[in-house]
Structures are given as structure tokens and as C-alpha cells.
């Protein structure tokens, strides 16, 4: 029973509440219902209203937003999520965003569910700057729905002025020198993925026995952790974290906010690290896809991309300004580098579906309540 509107849902709920409804057996769908045709509706690349923008916090140079508003006389209404599942839950609720920033595997999941608009790449002036490796990304055939935004690697950020006994292992997360000032990312993929790597399993393993041992590893870490938190910049700049499980670019962002940037270092761990990429995409129910496409074009402009890379600290896979800007950052600190080769050779999070995803969620809950 597809194509059910929110009103039907409300009616269904009311029916049950009034004791009138036997909903059991009748499969009603919530969420944004769309078919392939909805994703292919053409739209012009022109300003068609204010931009409802939905991204991680501190994941774009604020000057870009101000510059876009000024150049085109529109407002960018910014909201933030702190994890991919949190982004998904807002999308499922039917909130109409014009531009979102899903990671590759979540983009694939959204594409499979007909949740992203098809983008006419020919309309993007600077699209030819995008690395050709992204012409046929694994998560989006022909890059029809997404534009690559950044590449990332996950590792450990640490205070070199406090800790001089890093070993190169993920086990450093609970390095005793941190004296209990260690935070793990509050992110089921990064948590379980890291444990899988430490145990020598595939990053995306869904093998029940392997997952069980990865769960044990995480539970054993807990007594020495100060918390689960993805608020990495705040944790490290406030001094509450001396060790923080984080993404490479966060270190640059943190260094830009402290007086002693040389004390904040990044470690890529020997057991292997997750690498991945983020994308720009337009949800199927976007009210202003034209403005969103203008914004994507604006981000791709070499000078804007360069300014963005210097601020967020992540490489953007575009030739020209962005490439040079990141090369400049890497010259100062080679550990933060991520390249297209790393993506090809490294382990990337996959879009877990069905029983596999449920198993990861169950284990993450078990780690949290343990």
C-alpha cells in the first residue's frame, strides 16, 4: 500500500487512538514516498527561493554562505545534524531541505529509495574540475544524483604536549597518559568499524561471531573512556579531551581555534583506517532545487573551494584551487592527507542493509548500555 500521505497517517493514528482502527495487517508507509519519475523532474538552474541547507556543523567555511547570500540576494537557512542516522530521521519526517551532505554510503541508500533529485551535470559550470575518479563512483552511477564534496580518513586526534606515548594503534584511544580524557565518536559506523579493524576483520563485517568480539572490544574500552561524543572540536579545544576519535579535517579546524596549534596531532592507526567521501545532494522533496544547484556550482568554483578547504581541513576532490589549498595543508602536516588512491585501496563504509544493519545497531546499543 504505497503512496500514503501524511493525512492518511494521521487518520490512521486517530483511528487507532479512538479504538476504531484495526491497523494490524494493513501496511501503511510513513516517510517521503517518491518514485523514480519524481527524482527525474527537470528544474532550472536559477535562484528559486531561500536555501534550506542541512549539513554537519562546522563543515563549510562560513564565508561561503555569507558570500552566496550576498551574491544572489537570498537567505541560507542552516540546520545541522551530528550523525548520518540523525540526518535520515529528519528526512524521513518529511522536512523539506534543498541541499544535504550525505556520506557516500548514505547517498547510495537515499538514491536506492528514490530520495535524491537527478542533477544535470552539464548545468554545473565547474563540474569539469571534479576528479575523473568520481565520474563513476560506486555509490551513484554516472554521478547522476550527487556531487563529491570531501574525502576523509578516521583516526585519533591527540594532544602532543600531554601525551608522548602514542603507539600507532587504535588502542591508543585509551592511552593511560590521557588520564581518562578520551572520547570515542558517538557514531555506530565509526565505533564498530574501528573495533572490526582492530580485531583484523573487514571494516564492514556483519559476521555474528566477529561482531560479538568487536562488541567485547568496545565494552572493554568503556571504563577508560570519558564519553561517546562527536562534538570533537569542542572537546579538544576545551581541554576536556586529550585523545579524541575523529576525522582528519577536524584537526585543522581545531588548530585554527587554539593558541597552540602545534600541540594537536593526528594519528592514522596501523590496524587500518576507514576512509570515505561526502557528497552534495538535493532531496526529492526540495522546494528550491534551483537555488541548491546554484549553491553546488558556487562551491565548485576554484577560489571558493580553496577557501573552504583551508577552513574545514578536508580535501575536496576538485582540480585547481581546492587541490592546491589541501596540498598546502598537507605540507605542514602530512598525516592528514587523504587521496583518491586511499579511497581505492582503503576500507570504505558500505551501505549496510537489512539484517546486517540491524546487527550493527543492536551491538551499538549493547555497547552503550553495558
Amino acid at each position: 500500500m504505497a503512496g500514503v500521505s501524511r493525512r492518511d497517517l494521521l487518520r490512521g493514528g486517530a483511528g487507532l487512538a479512538l479504538g476504531a482502527g484495526g491497523l494490524a495487517g494493513c501496511q501503511l508507509n510513513s516517510g517521503v514516498q517518491a518514485d523514480a519519475g519524481d527524482t527525474r523532474k527537470p528544474f532550472a538552474k536559477k535562484i528559486d527561493g531561500d536555501l534550506a541547507y542541512f549539513n554537519w556543523a562546522e563543515f563549510i567555511n562560513p564565508d561561503l554562505i555569507k558570500g552566496f547570500e550576498k551574491k544572489y540576494g537570498v537567505k541560507v537557512r542552516e540546520s545541522n545534524f551530528d550523525s548520518m542516522p540523525a540526518m535520515m530521521s529528519k528526512l524521513r519526517a518529511g522536512i523539506e531541505y534543498d541541499l544535504i551532505f550525505p556520506t557516500a554510503e548514505f547517498a547510495q541508500r537515499l538514491i536506492r529509495g528514490n530520495q535524491l533529485r537527478v542533477i544535470d551535470r552539464d548545468k554545473l559550470r565547474a563540474a569539469e574540475n571534479v576528479f575523473s575518479a568520481f565520474d563513476q563512483p560506486w555509490y551513484d552511477r554516472n554521478s547522476a544524483h550527487t556531487t563529491p564534496y570531501t574525502m576523509y580518513a578516521t583516526g585519533i586526534g591527540y594532544r602532543a604536549d600531554k601525551i608522548d606515548s602514542m603507539t600507532g594503534s587504535w588502542r591508543d584511544l585509551v592511552n593511560p597518559d590521557a588520564d581518562g580524557r578520551s572520547f570515542m565518536l558517538d557514531d555506530f559506523q565509526e565505533g564498530i568499524g574501528m573495533a572490526n579493524l582492530v580485531n583484523g576483520y573487514e571494516l564492514n563485517s556483519v559476521d555474528p561471531e566477529e561482531l560479538d568480539r568487536s562488541k567485547d572490544f568496545l565494552v572493554d574500552l568503556k571504563p577508560d573512556l570519558r564519553g561517546f561524543s562527536s562534538d570533537t572540536t569542542t572537546n579538544m579545544t576545551s581541554g576536556n579531551a586529550w585523545i579524541q576519535h575523529l576525522w582528519n579535517g577536524d584537526v585543522v579546524n581545531i588548530r585554527n581555534q587554539v593558541d597552540n596549534p602545534e600541540d594537536f596531532k593526528f594519528q592514522k592507526c596501523d590496524e587500518g583506517i576507514p576512509v570515505g567521501s561526502d557528497t552534495l545532494a538535493i532531496p526529492v522533496n526540495a522546494k528550491h532545487p534551483g537555488t541548491a544547484l546554484m549553491f553546488i556550482d558556487y562551491v565548485l568554483e576554484p577560489e571558493n573551494a580553496a577557501a573552504n578547504v583551508e577552513w574545514i581541513g578536508y580535501p575536496m576532490p576538485y582540480r585547481g584551487g581546492a587541490e592546491e589549498a589541501f596540498a598546502g595543508l598537507v605540507k605542514d602536516d602530512p598525516t592528514i592527507a587523504v587521496t583518491v588512491n586511499d579511497l581505492d585501496n582503503g576500507q570504505q563504509f558500505e551501505n549496510l542493509e537489512g539484517a546486517g544493519r540491524k546487527a550493527w545497531d543492536r551491538i551499538w546499543t549493547q555497547v552503550k548500555v553495558a
Binding site: G15, L28, S30, A370
Partner: protein, 277 residues
Amino acid sequence: MSEQRFASRFLLPGAVWLLLFFLVPLGILLAISFGTTDDLGNSLYGWHPSNYADAFDPLFAPVLLRSVGYAFATVVLCLVIGYPIAYYIARFGGRRKNALIALVVLPFFVNYLVRTYAWVAILGDEGVFNGAANTNIRFLNTPYAVVGGLVYGYLAFMILPIYAALDRMDPALIEAGKDLYGSRWNTFRHVTFPHTFQGVLAGGVLVFLPAVGDFVSAQLLGGPDEYMVGNLIQQQFFAAENWPFGAALTTLMMGFLLIFMVMYLRSAAKASREATA
């Protein structure tokens, strides 16, 4: 217009409000709690009582006990802190009574989440307090910080009903207690406190119910071992993308809290019967 029709017209807005914003969402919650999800995480309605069976996993028992423990500690602390404040305002507030009550309520104009974030900045290792006092105390990510956050968040719910009870009380009763050679403590114990007991009970329930389901305080001020039921439910909705299980946990939690609510309502009804008898 008959009196009855007149009354029913006045009932209508309230009834519509309750239907739209209480019964309908509750119905949706119940419907989802028996559902499952598709690959996008959307809820599919159906008949899956297993969500409820999963909720009784003994794994969750410590989380529930911890939440009840924190909420109980919060009630006790709110009472110890709130009663003297309410007493002072009611008995000695004079012309400034309303202004003082306004001050108690004032922080509520700022979002609870924002206020809790402020505590993160104040109590951090290199935060405002440790900086000003030149100390090195680790406040954050401890059970004390979580309970402290809850007390701070819900204190006004304790102060207001106690204040209302004290304000209603005839001060002559206290004077009578003293006239009969009751010490200050005995007067308080045998006259003032029993007279305001319903206010204390109301405050206790008003603090306990939101505190036991709170997730903000544990999320921002707690560590890995301060996980509460609210965090568990929040995780099902925003991390595990498992709304049906989250809805089942919510439904059970509401049932559990209803026990306290019913106990309170019965006690309040009994007290008001005794008062009019």
C-alpha cells in the same frame, strides 16, 4: 441555550486540542511500536509484538534502575534546595514576592539544551569555574554532573507548587503553633510541613517524571556509564533508525510513569476529600 449545551461548547476547544495533540500522536506512537522498518528506515505498520519482547531484555535493567535512582536523587535534592527558597519567598517575600517568583521562572525562557551547554562551558576541565578558582576539578562526565544538571533543570517544578501551598497557608497557624510553646522545628514539623505536604508531593511528581525520562543531562554532562532510559530511547530514534523499538520503549516508559501519576492523583484526591470533610 441550556446550561449543558453551553458547557459542552466550552469543552470543545479543549477536547479538540487533546484529540489532536495528545490522542492522535499517542495512537501513532502505539501503531509504530508494533511496526517494523523498510530499508530507508521508514516505519511500516504491522503486528510485531517482538518490539515489546525485546524491551524486556535484562540488558536494559541497569539503565532503568540508574534512571530511577538519578531521578529520585534529583527529587530529594530539589526538595532540600527548593523548600527553603519557596518558604523564604512565601513568608518573607513581601512586596517582592511576584518578582522573586519571576526570577525562579526566568531561566525557563532559555532552552534547557542551551542552559545545559552553558554548564559544559562552566564546568569544563579548563572551564570558567576551574579557571576562576584556579582548581583542577573534573566535574564533567560524572554521575554528579548528570544529577546536578537534572536538579538545575527541574528545580522550579519543585519550588512553584510548594510556594503555592505555603502561600495558601494561613500564617496564623504558625503563630498558633508558637503560642502553644512549639519550638520552631516542632512548629515546622507538625504544622507547616503537613500543611504543604500536597505541594511537596506535587513537586516531587513534577520533578520525577521528566527527570527519569531525561536524556539531555546524561548526553552532555555524563560519561559512558551514565546512560539513561531517555538516551536509550533517543538512540533508537536518532542513531539506530529503529522507531518501532523506540516507540515500544516509550510506550512502556509511559505505562511505568503512569503508576506514579495514578498514585499521586489518588493521594491528592484523598487529601482534598479530607480537607472538605
